[in-house]
């Protein structure tokens, strides 16, 4: 699932060099997912799912405690993040967060349907070689 999340983030951050815009770009994945998935499951549904993903990611990435999911399902606390955490750490944490989110989607609706939803947002990203393995939401490929 990390590989999956990394590809989405890499695609969104491509070309962003400065740390400020890079932080925003890293979390652009979440924003795009929010807009797309909210149409399917509503604000309440997406917020519940994203909050669960954040709670799971918190266990691995302590600084994510400073981030929260707002009522509309978007992430809050990102503005302060750039000053407190190094951009490499932010990128790493975002991978964990979105891997959890994608993992939850896979757990609920399966890999095939998750891929279909993601492809609707990022049709150009090659995802055919992704291996969801045994369904572990946040497996580390290393």
């Amino acid at each position: 699932m990390r590989d999956f999340a990394e590809r989405l983030i890499a695609y969104e951050t491509k070309g962003n060099k400065s740390s400020g815009t890079k932080t925003a770009a890293v979390f652009l994945v979440g924003e795009k997912l929010r807009l797309h998935l909210t149409a399917l499951m509503g604000n309440v549904g997406f917020r519940a799912l994203f909050s669960r993903a954040l709670a799971l990611a918190n266990a691995e990435v302590p600084w994510l405690h400073t981030v929260h999911v707002k009522a509309d399902g978007s992430l809050g606390g990102l503005d302060e993040l750039g000053a407190q955490v190094a951009s490499e750490k932010i990128a790493e944490g975002s991978v964990v967060l979105f891997a959890q989110l994608l993992g939850l989607l896979v757990a609920f609706i399966g890999g095939s349907l998750t891929l279909r939803l993601v492809r609707e947002m990022w049709p150009k990203i090659p995802l055919n070689d992704l291996d969801f393995g045994n369904g572990d939401k946040n497996e580390n490929p290393k």
Binding site: T38, A39, L40, M41, G42, N43, V44, G45, L49, L105, F108, I109, G110, S112, L113, R116, L117, E120
Partner: protein
């Protein structure tokens, strides 16, 4: 009106006298097996429908089947989810069904969540959101699931008139946009009279389930469908991996063949019995073989099927207790090979044992098999075990459904042999405790009689609707060849039908039998 011809001269246009054609309403397939027939061909295009019922009846599944059966990228379906089942869970569960075609999601089928609008705004906002999405996507199918929650949430403080107006506007808009609409909701039957949505709807599909002892029985009623004849009454539905399946009360069996005008006599596979029956059973008859346990009903039925197979007539054996292997093994012991015709697709042994079967789906299984192999002969072995395999709630419909199936099949020229267990009493001579003899053309009765210190077996042809038959009571045995009729009619006894006959002729010396009556070896 005038037109110019090639020469440039004006000539009057001939009027066409034929009257304008009436509108043809296209019917959409439901994707629910059996439902199109019940509806009278399918769902009228551009109709405004309600799928109603209590929780767990299969409303959402039915809506999904309709959507998946019709949605294409050019004519997409719009599925509005509201406060009912969360969309994620709905997708999680619905994809377990075989009709769920993931490739349709996104382009042919789009899910839109209306929960936020419903929670935060009023009826007008809901209407605006639906119209906005419909105008943008131009769907051919629109589903709102659950419409009940839309109404419940947004009608606080709204008058009945406003509610009716909202539903009317919605119906008019969606029909004008050439969408066939389904509002899914949990309603109580008592609401039909007062709820405006039921008045406005063109079609009302009512799903229900009720408990009968330990069984749950699901039913479907087409309360109304405008513009076409649906099959009235309650139809059994079952939810399985294929989604909902409906079983029409009329069984909707369209035979490939009709009963021939000149019917031939078919061999029972027992030459002496054929003679007793005036040459055999008439093609397309329903024959009942009644007798107590151990009198050879199954052996006789097997011989009947085997005779057909030898004559190139495919057959079906529907059994409910014994497993198919046991059946074929016993046939083997009579020298009847059922395995080869099974392998060649000329014979199917249907083992319909699970409890809680509905009578209609049991009948449907049999009808499907008959159609599948073009069966000419059918054995139901036995009616008693068929009834036992049914859910208790269906047993009261047993006779009615059996009647419908027999009528449908015999009309198609299929010859049916049903066995039924009857308890031998020594005072009466009953044929069946079901009182089903009215739906059988022919009856053969087997029974035990006590003769010369032995419990022997006799058979008699009680009735043959299609012609004359022997009135003889004949003794028979079950040997390694199956049922074999022995001895001609005995005139030395009276009262054979009572089971305890009185000897009227001279007493003959009896042979000493070293062992029991020869019987099929296992």
């Amino acid at each position: 009106m005038k037109i110019q011809n090639d020469a440039g001269k004006r000539q009057p246009l001939k009027r066409i006298a034929s009257p304008p054609a009436k509108v043809t309403i296209r019917k959409l397939p439901t994707g629910v097996r059996g439902l199109d027939d019940i509806l009278g061909g399918g769902i009228p295009e551009f109709s405004f429908n309600i799928i109603a019922g209590t929780p767990g009846c299969g409303k959402t599944t039915m809506a999904h089947q309709i959507v998946f059966a019709n949605a294409t990228a050019k004519k997409p379906a719009l599925f509005f989810t509201v406060l009912g089942e969360p969309a994620l869970k709905m997708l999680r569960y619905q994809q377990q069904y075989s009709f769920f075609d993931e490739s349709k999601l996104g382009n042919a089928i789009r899910f839109i969540n209306l929960a936020d609008v419903v929670m935060e705004k009023d009826l007008n906002a809901v209407f605006d959101e639906i119209t906005k999405q419909v105008a943008a996507i131009n769907p051919s199918i629109v589903v709102v699931d659950s419409f009940r929650t839309v109404v419940r949430k947004t009608t606080a403080g709204v008058s009945e008139m406003e509610m009716q107006s909202f539903i009317q506007r919605l119906a008019q808009f969606l029909t004008s946009w050439e969408a066939t609409t389904f509002l899914v909701g949990e309603y109580d039957p008592a609401e039909i009279r007062d709820n405006p949505v039921f008045t406005i709807a063109d079609g009302l599909f009512w799903l229900s389930q009720k408990a009968e002892r330990n069984s749950i029985v699901r039913k479907l009623q087409i309360v109304k469908v405008r513009g076409q004849n649906s099959v009235p009454g309650l139809h059994t539905i079952r939810i399985s991996e294929g989604g909902l399946q409906a079983f029409s009360r009329t069984l909707a069996f369209v035979p490939q063949n009709k009963k021939p005008a000149r019917r031939q006599r078919l061999s029972m596979g027992i030459p002496e019995l054929d003679k007793m029956m005036g040459g055999g059973v008439l093609e397309g008859d329903s024959l009942l073989v009644a007798g107590p346990s151990g009198t050879g009903k199954t052996a006789l039925a097997t011989q009947f099927i085997a005779a057909g197979l030898r004559n190139g007539e495919p057959g079906i054996i529907a059994i409910f207790e014994e497993r198919p292997k046991g059946y074929t093994d016993r046939a083997d012991s009579f020298g009847l090979n059922l395995k080869t015709p099974q392998e060649k697709g000329k014979l199917e042994i249907l083992y319909l044992r699970p409890l809680d079967l509905s009578v209609d789906e049991t009948m449907q299984e049999i009808l499907d098999a008959v159609e599948r192999i073009g069966a000419k002969r059918l054995v139901i072995d036995s009616l008693v075990s068929l009834e036992m395999a049914l859910a208790p709630g269906f047993r009261e419909d047993f006779r009615e459904s059996l009647y419908r199936m027999i009528v449908a099949l015999t009309a198609a020229g299929v010859t049916i042999l049903s066995t039924v267990e009857v308890e031998d009493t020594f005072t009466g001579f009953s044929f069946s405790h079901y009182t089903i003899s009215f739906l059988t053309d022919d009856i053969i009765r087997l029974r035990y009689v006590e003769i010369d210190g032995q419990l022997r077996k006799v058979m008699v042809v009680i009735k043959m609707r299609g012609g004359n038959h022997s009135k003889d009571i004949r003794e028979y045995v079950i040997t390694s060849k199956g049922v074999v009729v022995i001895h001609p009619r005995s005139t030395d006894y009276d009262g054979l039908t009572t089971g305890i006959p009185r000897q009227t002729g001279p007493r003959k010396a009896q042979k000493v039998e070293s062992g029991p009556e020869p019987k099929a070896r296992k």
